[in-house]
Symmetry: C2
Subunit: 258 residues, 2 copies
């Protein structure tokens, strides 16, 4: 583990979490480093446009370079590329917003977002990070992880986002077993009050989970007696289609899910 790179990455994370503009001293304090050390790292990151310094205040923030890299990541993502087509048709079919996501550490990050096909103004959530334990996408992914990685995910902090967020390891383990046997996950106001989600896992070659696809929207609509089962069917079908595109299903233990 290369120390200076490690520290540079920590700086980027700190600048990306919450407060958008920080001074050298504050960053140094948060990371427990000497001021000149942080300064040198910042200057190097600045040269690559990964951070930018406000000429007036002297404070630092993330730079445009990280956005470019984020875009390049999306361009190179197989999962995203293969899901574009199916996400679009799922959104039409379900008449709901569709998200495609993958796991990063203990958070689920949104790779693709199709707006609900009404004409309301919606915020694009691509790049957003959501604690895995609070959303259907996260449950769908973690439930299908190899046991060791699943344990690791359960070891993360399980802070509640709403009053209904599952936060105990027991409740989550039970929910995951349920997700694994059913082949899909349902979340009801565990991430955002009023919103629910239905998601199913996407498998890649070797039948490892690569991510998940699902619908997100008003709990009233998604979980209504008539709509729920049909949405589940559509989501599972979309997940299977993307998995097939990625080359999954050629032998392996999880075939029954497909």
């Amino acid at each position: 583990m290369i120390q200076s790179v490690q520290r540079a990455a920590q700086i980027l994370v700190v600048l990306g979490s919450g407060t958008p503009r920080l001074g050298v001293t504050e960053i140094a304090d948060r990371l427990g480093l000497a001021k000149p050390t942080v300064h040198g790292l910042l200057r190097t990151l600045e040269a690559h446009e990964l951070v930018a310094q406000d000429p007036d205040t002297g404070k630092y923030s993330l730079g445009p370079g990280v956005l470019q890299l984020g875009n390049a990541y999306l361009d190179g993502s197989d999962l995203r590329a293969r899901s574009l087509r199916w996400a679009e048709s799922l959104a039409q079919q379900a008449n709901e917003a569709v998200w495609v996501a993958t796991l990063s550490g203990s958070r689920v990050i949104v790779l693709h977002h199709v707006f609900r096909p009404d004409n309301t103004v919606q915020i694009l959530e691509v790049g957003a990070a959501i604690p895995w334990h609070a959303c259907a996408l996260g449950h769908a992914i973690v439930a299908n992880l190899p046991a060791s990685q699943r344990a690791q995910a359960l070891a993360a902090d399980l802070a509640p986002l709403t009053g209904r967020t599952k936060t105990t390891r027991n409740a989550l383990t039970r929910a995951l077993a349920q997700v694994r046997s059913a082949g899909y996950a349902i979340e009801n106001e565990e991430a955002t009050v009023g919103d629910a989600g239905i998601a199913a896992p996407i498998l890649s070659r070797d039948d490892l989970v690569a991510g998940a696809i699902g619908v997100v929207g008003s709990a009233d609509r998604l979980l209504a007696a008539g709509a729920r089962d049909e949405l589940v069917r559509a989501v599972v079908a979309a997940a299977r289609a993307v998995s097939r595109d990625l080359g999954a299903g050629r032998g392996g233990v999880s075939l029954s899910v497909l």
Copy 2:
């Protein structure tokens, strides 16, 4: 300049340019470094999810962390936050796609993108990087840069994207002078065949140029005799509005542009 961080940043750039998946050897060759050096850097970046290794092939690609950072950058961007509202109304008024961009090195990167308000399927271009010399947004920004930075921009490589891209320093210098005096920039099929752009600079406090806003779309529509002048007026008005929101116009040399 901290060497290892510098090299780590170069690795990220290489992984973000073109080929999405590269092996250790190939990266080492491109950067002129020893294989184990690159390996160590990659392992460190991997620990922070900035790169990811394909478990099958062993090759490396950018990781989900960079997407999270890109999203955090957008969340913290004043320019973007202030332009959301005005971009939306400009798109309605012009009935064209609207882009807001800022300069990063010799490229313009798209911070916000409002789709053209017809119901066609469009690709979101947020995070896309375009050589500044090939688009109206770039001309609008560079024309209003301090002379030293403008010279630096003109020193970059000016590769043509279409047959109409301006590539000589003379032609560009002339175009920029024109943009500076007119207060807006027009580009006709210089970036993409069939597409044109109209853009105006956004100024921040101290009347430094912070970015640009403009419309992009079919050259036939944008440059039609009847439409052109009205679009220019709308774009310039939107740029002024955002500039005002950012606090520009309190004294300074560029007031006439406003």
